[in-house]
């Protein structure tokens, strides 16, 4: 798989999935860069890993439970304080339907 090519069309598809608006010039640049990067990353494809359990978190997680109670009593004002646009204590977005 080391001849993997991430062409402009693939980049545009990935950008769409990633919710990233990019222009033609960016797509061209990302295509070249990602092809090179993924080509290099592909070297792991030849390593024998049959039957190896994937490691998704590095240490044994000692699971613990905490009581489900509300402790952080933020005000609605605090919660919307960072909103780019708001109306009272509500988040405001442009009409998008």
């Amino acid at each position: 798989m080391s001849n993997i090519k991430i062409d402009i069309k693939t980049v545009q598809h990935i950008a769409k999935l990633s919710k990233l608006q990019i222009n033609e010039a960016q797509a061209q640049e990302y295509s070249e860069q990602l092809t090179k990067i993924m080509g290099f990353f592909d070297k792991i494809s030849n390593l024998p890993t049959d039957g190896i359990e994937p490691l998704v978190t590095p240490t044994e997680i000692e699971s613990f439970w905490r009581e489900d109670k509300d402790e952080n009593n933020y005000t609605s004002e605090e919660m919307v304080a960072n909103a780019p646009s708001r109306q009272g204590s509500l988040f405001k977005v442009p009409p998008v339907v």
């Binding site: 950008a15 990067i37 290099f40 490691l55």
Partner: protein
């Protein structure tokens, strides 16, 4: 009292015994920032409440109240860590106006110990970078030579600490982001075991790899800071419940009989001669101190870069999905009334994220997408287990592994930023530590011909930070760089 070069303990003791005051110490560092940071760009924000917060510590002293381990000691905090009512950006345009309503657990613990937050430190955007050149707020410069990078992603922390623009700093490390800049700027940096330090309130990059840790001027300062920031936190589901040792009081530079593993793969071709010499000097030093030197091998280490980047990018693509321009952060202006909800998100994220962040989101999205998941993400996680297994084998033969932090000292600003893959390859010796969840450390030990610092990396088994610190102390005592000063100080 001499403040600039004092240890954290000396500063705190002097404040507690009223030889100086928290306000005086804070003002001292603020004036240093004012005077010197124009040359470095290490701070993205100076806390205008710092003096007022220091005054609260002095008030406590006046009233004879109980004080924490770091009472009155001013720290700079990497901008990945949320600070209540103090802007936190992760070095990104998308968070350029974000003011958290809460403190990250690390900052909460530091404040509880009496730390005064001086300000927020520059970094690569979302900690994605190895040179601090991807920051929305501009590159940070290396205090030893301002033509050079300070390393990354915690470049602001490393530069500020090296130039003594804080008594101590905090960085984060996902694939080397504490250890590599610590090496490049000649400071001590510790990445704790995964789970040792709570990730609550630290802006998430790659959740199975991220850890915060101290970037300070000495091993003793690192030990003291670790005592404060480590410990169980019920707000982080991966937080360890193991008790935290008194790292500082248990510091012991007597390493006689300790087994130090030398990473064979790291000593092959490709190391810069100055780095190789520094590692050899480190080995000789430890030998003289009575340590037993044993060769160890991590045959898969060259695969740690693909494995790390595939996993980190996958996790990042998911973690960064939250930046949608609705609840906080940057929002693109919508000009066309026909735009859809997807257009709204895509415009915001297209402008709000820089190129390196976009690349990693796309790599991650690609790896996790239908048809590629098993070939990339699952495969990377399988190799991750094999790398961890190799570490387990290596630690049957030794207590601590010694290796370079990076194959070179700091490189020039602009040298690698145009070639992302070249930048990634820089992380060859640091990423495997995060993949295996182990504690790692960088201790300043040598200087390159260009008079740039070179650190040595130490790695230990999970939760064995004390061993790292003890070997680190032994190296520090013999370090040739101890008496050297950066250019900007």
């Amino acid at each position: 009292m001499e403040i600039t070069f004092s240890s954290l303990k000396q500063i705190s003791d002097a404040i507690k015994t009223k030889q100086t005051s928290a306000v005086e110490v804070t003002k001292h560092f603020l004036s240093r920032i004012e005077k010197l940071d124009k040359k470095l760009n290490s701070y993205v924000l100076v806390n205008d409440q710092a003096v007022a917060e220091a005054q609260l510590i002095d008030d406590k002293i006046q009233k004879g109240e109980k004080l924490g381990l770091l009472a009155g000691v001013p720290f700079g905090i990497k901008d990945m860590l949320c600070t209540k009512n103090l802007r936190t950006t992760a070095g990104s345009k998308i968070l350029e106006n974000f003011i958290p309503p809460y403190d990250s657990t690390v900052v909460k613990k530091l404040k509880a110990a009496g730390v005064v937050v001086l300000g927020k430190l520059n970094q690569d955007e979302f900690a994605m970078g190895s040179s601090n050149e991807t920051s929305f707020f501009g590159a940070v410069k290396n205090p030893w030579n301002t033509d050079y990078v300070p390393g990354g992603s915690s470049g602001g922390s490393a530069a500020a600490q090296a130039a003594r623009l804080a008594a101590g700093t905090i960085g984060t490390d996902t694939g080397g982001s504490i250890r590599q800049p610590a090496s490049f700027c000649g400071v001590v940096g510790v990445k704790p075991t995964y789970g040792r330090v709570s990730r609550y309130g630290i802006i998430a990059y790659a959740s199975s790899l991220d850890q915060a840790g101290p970037m300070v001027s000495s091993v003793e300062d690192a030990a003291l800071t670790l005592e404060v920031i480590c410990g169980h936190d019920e707000l982080d589901g991966t937080s360890s419940q193991k008790s935290v040792p008194h790292f500082a009081s248990k510091l012991n530079s007597d390493i006689k009989g300790m087994r130090i593993g030398i990473l064979e793969e790291a000593m092959k071709d490709g190391l810069h001669p100055d780095v190789e010499k520094t590692v050899q000097n480190g080995i000789e030093t430890l030998k003289k101190l009575g340590a037993e030197i044993v060769p160890v091998s991590l045959s898969l280490i060259e695969n740690s870069i693909p494995v790390y980047y595939l996993i980190a990018a996958s996790e990042a693509s998911s973690n960064l999905a939250r930046y949608d321009g609705v609840r906080y952060g940057f929002r693109a202006e919508m000009r066309e009334s026909s735009a859809t909800l997807d257009d709204f998100y895509a415009m915001t994220r297209g402008i709000g994220f820089g190129a390196e962040v976009q690349r990693r989101i796309m790599i991650g999205t690609f790896c996790l997408s239908s048809g590629y998941y098993d070939a990339y993400y699952t495969k990377a996680c399988q190799v991750r287990r094999l790398i961890k297994n190799e570490y387990d084998e290596a630690f049957k033969k030794c207590d601590v592994i010694l290796s370079p932090v990076a194959s070179t000292a700091a490189f020039k600003i602009g040298d690698r930023i145009t070639d992302p893959l070249k930048m990634y390859l820089n992380d060859i010796f640091t990423t495997s530590t995060n993949l295996a969840g182990l504690p790692g450390m960088s201790v300043p030990f040598g200087l390159s011909k260009e008079r740039l610092p070179i650190g040595l990396q130490l790695t230990a088994q999970a939760f064995e930070e004390q061993k790292l610190l003890n070997v680190g102390l032994a190296l520090e005592n013999a370090s040739s760089i101890k008496k050297e000063q950066p250019h900007v100080i």
